[in-house]
């Protein structure tokens, strides 16, 4: 099971990359009542049957690992929100894309910690594939609010396959969290 909200977000974004998305949008909103996340992509999407299988821990499409008999990423999120009394939705349309949203209430002791958002965003922009990443972050407690895209970061810091550029981006993204 994943430890932080950020881990769930990274897992969802990996799914988007594997679905062949050209653009992935990630929004992390930290309100007084809890944490809201949206991950949306324009990848190949899922039929209603495929979507049902994706939510089943004992089903696996076999696309990545032909012999695999489990697929746990989405079931982990669903289990975690159920335990915490939060909410989760997964909308998808074949040939259009997929949108996942989830909410963890701050009042619940079972809600996972948010985790380091700077670290999360660094991991997201360095995901494999040519997808553009559009990241938005907000926090009501102090009014923190910013948006950044992978292409802006690559333009400023260089190709992110280089660890040197990635280290710069890591520093930049950590500073955005300071407000």
């Amino acid at each position: 099971m994943h430890f932080t909200v950020g881990d769930f977000v990274l897992d969802l974004a990996q799914n988007s990359v594997e679905a062949g998305a050209r653009t992935i949008e990630v929004e992390v909103d930290e309100g007084a009542d809890g944490v809201r996340v949206r991950v949306a992509d324009d990848g190949r999407g899922m039929s209603p049957e495929a979507r049902a299988r994706a939510l089943d821990p004992l089903a696996n499409s076999g696309a990545k690992h032909p012999g695999r008999k489990v697929g746990l990423g989405l079931p982990f999120i669903r289990q975690a929100v159920e335990l915490a009394g939060g909410s989760f939705s997964l909308e998808s349309e074949r040939g259009v894309g997929t949108e996942a949203r989830f909410f963890f209430p701050s009042a619940s002791v079972d809600s996972p910690p948010l985790g380091d958002v700077g670290q999360l965003f660094t991991a997201l922009v360095s995901l494999a594939g040519a997808a553009e990443m559009k990241l938005r972050r907000s926090r009501s407690r102090d009014g923190l609010k910013y948006g950044i895209t992978k292409s802006e970061l690559v333009e400023a810091a260089g190709d992110l396959s280089s660890a040197a550029s990635l280290a710069l981006v890591r520093q930049f993204l950590a500073s955005q969290e300071e407000g």
Binding site: M1, H2, F3, G6, D7, L10, D11, Q14, E18, K64, H65, P66, G67, R68, K69, L72, G73, F76, G115, D116, Q119, L120, T122, A123, S126, L127, A128, E152, L153, A156, A157, G158, S161, S162, A163, A164, S165, L166, A167, L168, V169, R170, Q171, F172, A174, S175, Q176, E178, G179
Partner: protein, 131 residues
């Protein structure tokens, strides 16, 4: 630290590039690949990834290294996993690489060219084996 602007990021990059040219560093010849499938993430691979980037920067190795993420490599039982490919060393997949071992990976393997014997795993799970 204060919030950086994109202009400051560009300036920092330009400054670093000048430093690199002065040190006459070679091209990127090292690959470090971190497993970030559901199994890896659940075992803390995001922290490992971050710690590796930080350690590379700290030990002035970052300009020679490509750091990538990959999905499940089939070694779910010893996640987090990190594969290292570099000239003059055997390609290795390390397991149980939680973030506290990131610095050891950079110093021992990349700098000192010595394997982390306690972390070598190279047999993927049965359902991953390619036929």
């Amino acid at each position: 630290m204060a919030k950086m602007t994109l202009d400051q990021l560009r300036a920092l990059r330009a400054e670093k590039q000048e430093e690199l040219e002065r040190r006459n560093v070679e091209g990127k010849d090292i690959q470090v690949i971190v497993g970030m499938g559901t199994c890896g993430i659940a075992a803390g691979a995001k922290l490992t990834f971050d710690a590796i980037v930080a350690a590379l920067e700290k030990h002035n190795m970052a300009s020679r290294v490509v750091v990538r993420q990959t999905g499940c490599m089939g070694l779910c039982y010893v996640e987090p996993t990190v594969e290292v490919v570099m000239p003059d060393m055997p390609s290795v997949i390390y397991g149980k690489m939680t973030s506290e071992f990131a610095e050891e990976l950079v110093v021992k393997h990349l700098v000192e060219h010595s394997l982390l014997d306690n972390h070598i795993f190279d047999r993927p799970a049965v359902d991953i084996v390619k036929h």
